[in-house]
Point group: C2
Chain length 363, copies 2
Amino acid sequence: MYLARACELAARGIGNTSPNPPVGAVLVRDGVTIGEGFHHRRGDPHAEVEALRAAGGDAAGATLYVSLEPCDHDGRTPPCAPAIVAAGVVRVVIGALDPNPKTDARGVERLRAAGVAVDVVNDPEALRLIEPFARAVTSPRPFVTLKLAASLDGHVAPAPEPFWLTGPEARSFVRELRAAHDAVLVGAGTITADDPLLTVRPPYARLVPYRRAVICDGRAVPAESRVFLQADGYAPTLVLAAGPRARFGQLERVAEVAYIGEEDAPSVDLEAALVVVRERGVTSVLCEGGPRLAARLLAAGLVDRLEWLVAPRLLAGPHAVPALGRALAVDQAMAVDRVEHLGDDLRISARPRAAVSNPRGAA
Amino acid sequence: MYLARACELAARGIGNTSPNPPVGAVLVRDGVTIGEGFHHRRGDPHAEVEALRAAGGDAAGATLYVSLEPCDHDGRTPPCAPAIVAAGVVRVVIGALDPNPKTDARGVERLRAAGVAVDVVNDPEALRLIEPFARAVTSPRPFVTLKLAASLDGHVAPAPEPFWLTGPEARSFVRELRAAHDAVLVGAGTITADDPLLTVRPPYARLVPYRRAVICDGRAVPAESRVFLQADGYAPTLVLAAGPRARFGQLERVAEVAYIGEEDAPSVDLEAALVVVRERGVTSVLCEGGPRLAARLLAAGLVDRLEWLVAPRLLAGPHAVPALGRALAVDQAMAVDRVEHLGDDLRISARPRAAVSNPRGAA
């Protein structure tokens, strides 16, 4: 129960803690919560420290419930493990181990060496909270969530009109999803077809700059596209381009253009493009692209989490467009780990079966 | 709680009560269950009578919970409403009203006229139990359930191999589904491709004869197909044929061949074919046909219930076969009313939004 509360608190930081993971903590003594905290944003105090401060001098003899293993290394803030020991906490219940290979489990070791009892729960919710972090600290690319919306039978409308397919609750969920990632990624086709802003919409907001990224295979999108409109809270829009440099001259005036591969590359190498995105400090990306980009990401094994939104409709026929492009062969076993109703629609959340989420925790 | 129990009892009769609906009843006095019953099969006592018998002489002052409005007309068995009154039951809680236009709500009227308190709940589960019955008594065709199994993105394997797509729990559910209907329907393509037996498999069994039906558009299937093997408990396999009669001579020796339309009809009129099936005493049909038959039934508005089984897999590509055929345009809004996990797979149960389930009850 306290661990679930810690995870709930952690979730409040989602979207603002990058490159740190969201973390929540609850301090309990004699069955009474004496302090709570979460990591608000990079540079702010860690969750454990916030909970200890909230408890004032009362932490001696208490149990700390924390969604992620407390750190024992100096970063932007002092390490948490020594602070926990110093406060007299006698037991720490940890939702998930720190997946960062650089930390080498020193948090747990330090606590145990100081005589603090430590339980590691490998809680599914706690592991889920650090999925993006686990990807970002173990590979050179960001965590990739692929969002797709389709009819029950896997089609989008013949004339794409996403606002007709899913209802308001599902669309609100997509806004939440967008705000929960450091960046949003689409293909040039989405820009030319829909000219979206791709901004974070109320009630969601971000405390740290947001990135919008566009894949351009050999051809630029119009420089007047709305995705290039600048606003407070946004890093320059990133164009990930393949092909002759001359074609992107106009875009260099309105966006940051990163060239992937040689001038004669016919299309963007998506893995290389994601590494470029990661180098900009982005640890998680939401792909809101169309069927073609979705299939390319999947075929390349670059999807960590699939958010499949199902509209309660059947939409087959000669002109039906498959939600997942058919140019590339995709055969990917998935593990569905969350199904929920969003109004009349369904959300099916899944991850590739082969994906490694936490090298030290349970999958 | 007692009504849920009545529905649970009713479900035990599913598959054997046709042309009657499955019905369950619980008799309660002073908070104690004094009798339970359900309709086992056509010709057997009704659920209410079974519950009254189980209670012996103790029914005076009791409340009867029954999934469907008690009958007040003479059929194969004496009417239930007078028996309930005679037993001294003081209150009847009814899950769903009898949708049969011939009965004209006389059950409720008779009970109220005799001073019995009557509550009609319009319980979703009770309404669901009588969906097939409601269709069969209000139209000349049987209730049609369409079962489809697909990957998340709506495809079946390039080389159809259904046993690879969904897991054992989903396949067991399909066996249960088959036993719950009076007949199974497939297209000729399924017979030539898979040569299935289409029998009811253990642990499921039926007390009344089961029908297997095959749609043949202008061309016969091989007479040695396993679907024509006769066994105890099976009515002759029904071939619903369109086209020149001479082509079906061989099948007439192993099956009952019903010709739909004139000799020059290029394909079977599915609505007319279903009426022929209904005339054989079949009130519910499970379609286990392929993508083409599924799309034809949907496009013709002949599907009452969709059982969409989702395997946790993505299976797109140039050779991927859509679970729903694309030759016909289908645009059907659905209402999803049940989602459950079947092992690693998902079952999404839905009905067309326009479908009328019970003209007298809540939709």
